[in-house]
Symmetry: C2
Subunit: 526 residues, 2 copies
């Protein structure tokens, strides 16, 4: 049994309420009495509750001498009262935060009374079994019951993970009274069973963008039967609730200084702004950065090369794999490192083409296509050479050009140079693993002092967690949603011009990457 | 198929919405688009909808070219969107009004588009099988599953009646999208499955008083799966939503002039007021007025004497029964007539005692108690004399004294004489059947010009119907609730004093009933 406490965070969802006792002169009904006290205490507009809770109040109040512990959840000052217990004899109450990713789903269980994180866990989105990418999943919904099937997969996945997580913490899942979920627009639609077709077709219209709250039981999520679920709002088809959660977690709309957040996966999503304005855009970054670029490309997993350098003395590759296994492939951060080191050593020219003079015997031709041997077969776990083709490098260059162009376009559109940005938040696993120096070297991200780059981890999960711990943070979500102007890149002419200029290593405009040419002067680049 | 119309009442719940078409420059999501249009059109604060409806919108919108027919329901400007159909191809939408009485339950199905009443029907509250009276039903809930059983009975009754009513109108019950229910506090609790114990114990606290809205599916009411149900607020344990509905139907809170409404059953409930103030109280009126007074007393039904007079020439009783059957008993209105005529003919004195000198051979002694033979056995359907005992008359006098005292107390408490009341609404079956002249003669109701008495029928059902037809009327319900001050009679000293004075025929203070003594001067009273 956890230690009982007598005070809860005034900004949280759990509140002690000591009501006046009813008498002939004060014969306010039980539910009305509690709501009047709660409204006064937390200043909400409306507080609803389910019939089943109303029916329990008379007994609880008289047992508890009108002193109770209440848990609410909601947004825009419309709250739902979910749990009421005697103030001196209560069970714990938990909330669940979910980052609903296309590939991975991360969960956190939060103790709402003590405001602590109990457990964090993650599992592969079971929809990946149908298709790894969003587009194929959406096409799958054209089949009869396809949408239902995808929805069931993710709900079963979530329910399974909740059960496992609860078991490992020795808690009962019906004590989870609220749920906050942040995901990209498509994943959110597939979870809710909303038809996603219009999302991917011009003019790209989601079924719903605004945040909303629904009974978790509507989705058969097995937690408290009256639990409420908060769904983060989307800005549009390509800018989802996960990003809103990220902005919340970094508190970007309250900052004086202009900051930028990038979240890179198959798409690159970018938000730039401060307390006065905020601009967002998203664009295809290509598969290179999720590991799909080459035969040896892979998503981060055991045996994936995540770091690679050229030993200055031996000119041999020095690398590091996930789990320190023998290498089986190379993931996003490793590919960026590789391209940087190949460029620095002269093995790639500024157009991103292999230079035979420097590559020497590392080059080989497979299926009429030039390949570069990264790891010879005697060192790999697969027993084959791990190679990267010219096409792979071309693909990476398109990705990095897209990324840089998105950054340039968004900052130029507000008359800002990238160097004026005070902090550059890099979210997600990409942010955690890439070496900013390598990314700068290939011209993927701007040539800023390294200390401005801040890997910030899973900001989506962090933002979802915030809603469970703070009413003020939850209330700020509609404000964030309002605060953002979304910029459509597909129809942006500057984007196209910039993109062409960015398809070089690091860029056609050398002056944009002084530190890279500083290296060259020192003999680092041939 | 009903005739399609192109305009709906701006004050109703059904609205045509013609949305702008989405494009790249206007990529608001489907649900958000509809809600924005609706909010603008009807000026509500918040509009929610169920997930299942959100999931249907993309398809409906594109099929209907973004021109739809929407049905909402709600209160306090928090509306729930229940039904959305193409504007040029829609099914009808209906609402259901219910007056939930202790004895009878009345229903109306309303066409929400054409704003017409389709059918009105009624059935006996199936809980009567457990106990005819409220108190015994409440005690029944002390048994295991007693509350559940009572709840099931009424819900099954309502579902059965809905099915029958829909069949007879050839409509499908799933087209009933909203439900408005007005009942006394206890019946409302029993329907909702709320524990009623505290209602009948000092300080008389209901589980909830405020109006609220819940999914009809929470009670397994078989109508549209997303239908919402509005439950009228109570003022307190003895002043329920049926009265609030009555006040709404009579528009009492908007009247300049002071009016009064009485609803008499086992309890007498009284509301007095105008647009500036409103006072309510309720008191036990005794069983006399529901027919339970005597061996021959009965609730209104076939063979019940509802009117009775003394033929001036023959001195024989002339009576009228319900259904023109041979008499089997006498109901509330008949008993009042009888007492009036007995008093007028001198057979009852001002203390309400039989006067042998005038009763002559109509008096008989049964079980040591004086009885008056109303209908001799050769005329009755039972083959036995229909008699009324001295105890029955005493009981009636207590009831009528209670009634008159309640009226006096409430009007005196605001410094008003009863004669200043412009209209005297008499609600319910009591109002429909009593002869005001008889009621004045026995001093049950004040001696006002007869034209001020207005029988108003089932105001509870009428009020519930209003919420289905008018948003403005629905929105006025919280205002009515706020507007009313409830006066506790149990703790009122004046009540006790007045009550003693009112236990005479018509009253100890003759000046209060001039018209009765006018009759006397003309020789009508001995």
């Amino acid at each position: 049994m956890m230690k009982k406490i007598l005070e809860t965070s005034p900004d949280g969802w759990v509140h002690f309420v000591k009501m006046s006792q009813p008498c002939i002169g004060d014969n306010v009904a039980d539910a009305d009495r509690l709501i009047a006290h709660l409204k006064k205490q937390i200043g909400s507009h409306s507080i609803q509750m389910d019939l089943s809770l109303i029916s329990e109040l008379p007994c609880i109040f008289r047992k508890a001498d009108f002193h109770v512990l209440c848990t609410l959840f909601g947004c825009e000052k419309h709250y739902h009262l979910i749990d009421v217990q005697p103030a001196d004899d209560y069970l714990p109450v938990y909330g669940l935060a979910i980052d609903l990713g296309t590939t991975r789903v991360a969960l956190r269980i939060v103790d709402l009374i003590h405001q602590t994180i109990l457990i964090e866990t993650a599992f592969e989105n079971p929809q990946s079994g149908i298709a790894p990418d969003v587009l194929t999943r959406i096409h799958y919904t054209d089949q009869i019951d396809g949408l239902k099937h995808l929805q069931q997969l993710i709900i079963e996945g979530i329910n399974g993970e909740i059960a496992k997580a609860c078991d490992s913490c020795f808690i009962h899942s019906n004590r989870i009274v609220c749920l906050s979920i942040a995901g990209n627009t498509c994943m959110t639609h597939l979870l809710l069973g909303l038809p996603p077709h219009a999302i991917i077709r011009e003019p790209y219209i989601p079924a719903i963008n605004k945040q909303f709250i629904l009974p978790a039981s509507d989705l058969n999520i097995r937690i408290h039967p009256q639990a409420r679920m908060f769904v983060f709002p989307n800005i549009g088809s390509y800018f989802g609730g996960d990003l809103i959660a990220g902005i919340l977690s970094l508190d970007m709309i309250h900052l004086e200084k202009t900051t930028i957040m990038v979240d890179v996966g198959t798409n690159a999503e970018v938000v730039l702004g401060n307390k006065d304005w905020m601009l967002a855009c998203a664009g295809a970054a290509g598969p290179a950065l999720e590991g799909g670029v080459s035969k040896i490309g892979m998503t981060a997993g055991p045996g994936a090369i995540e770091r690679i350098q050229l030993h200055a003395g031996t000119s041999e590759f020095v690398y590091q794999t996930i789990g320190n296994k023998k290498p089986v492939g190379i993931c996003g951060s490793g590919i960026i490192d590789l391209a940087a080191v190949l460029f620095q050593s002269g093995m790639l020219d500024i157009r991103g083409k292999f230079v035979p003079k420097y590559c020497k015997d590392r080059l080989t031709v497979i299926d009429d296509l030039m390949h570069f041997i990264v790891i010879p077969k005697d060192q790999s776990d697969t027993g084959e050479d791990l190679t990267i083709s010219q096409a792979d490098i071309d693909s990476l260059i398109r990705s990095k050009a897209a990324m840089y162009t998105i950054l340039t376009t968004i900052s130029h559109s507000v008359g800002l140079s990238l160097s004026e940005i005070s902090t550059f938040y890099v979210a997600g696993t990409f942010g955690e693993y890439i070496d900013p120096l390598s990314a700068i070297t290939i011209g993927m991200i701007p040539d800023l002092p390294l200390e401005r780059y801040r890997p910030v981890g899973n900001t989506s999960l962090e933002g979802a967690t915030r809603t469970l711990l703070s009413r003020a943070d939850t209330e700020s979500i509609p404000a964030i949603h309002q605060h953002i102007t979304y910029m459509e890149l597909n129809v942006n002419q500057e984007f196209m011009n910039q993109f062409s200029a960015a398809k070089f290593l690091p860029h056609t405009d050398r002056s944009l990457f002084p530190s890279v040419y500083e290296l060259e002067r020192k003999g680092g680049i041939h």
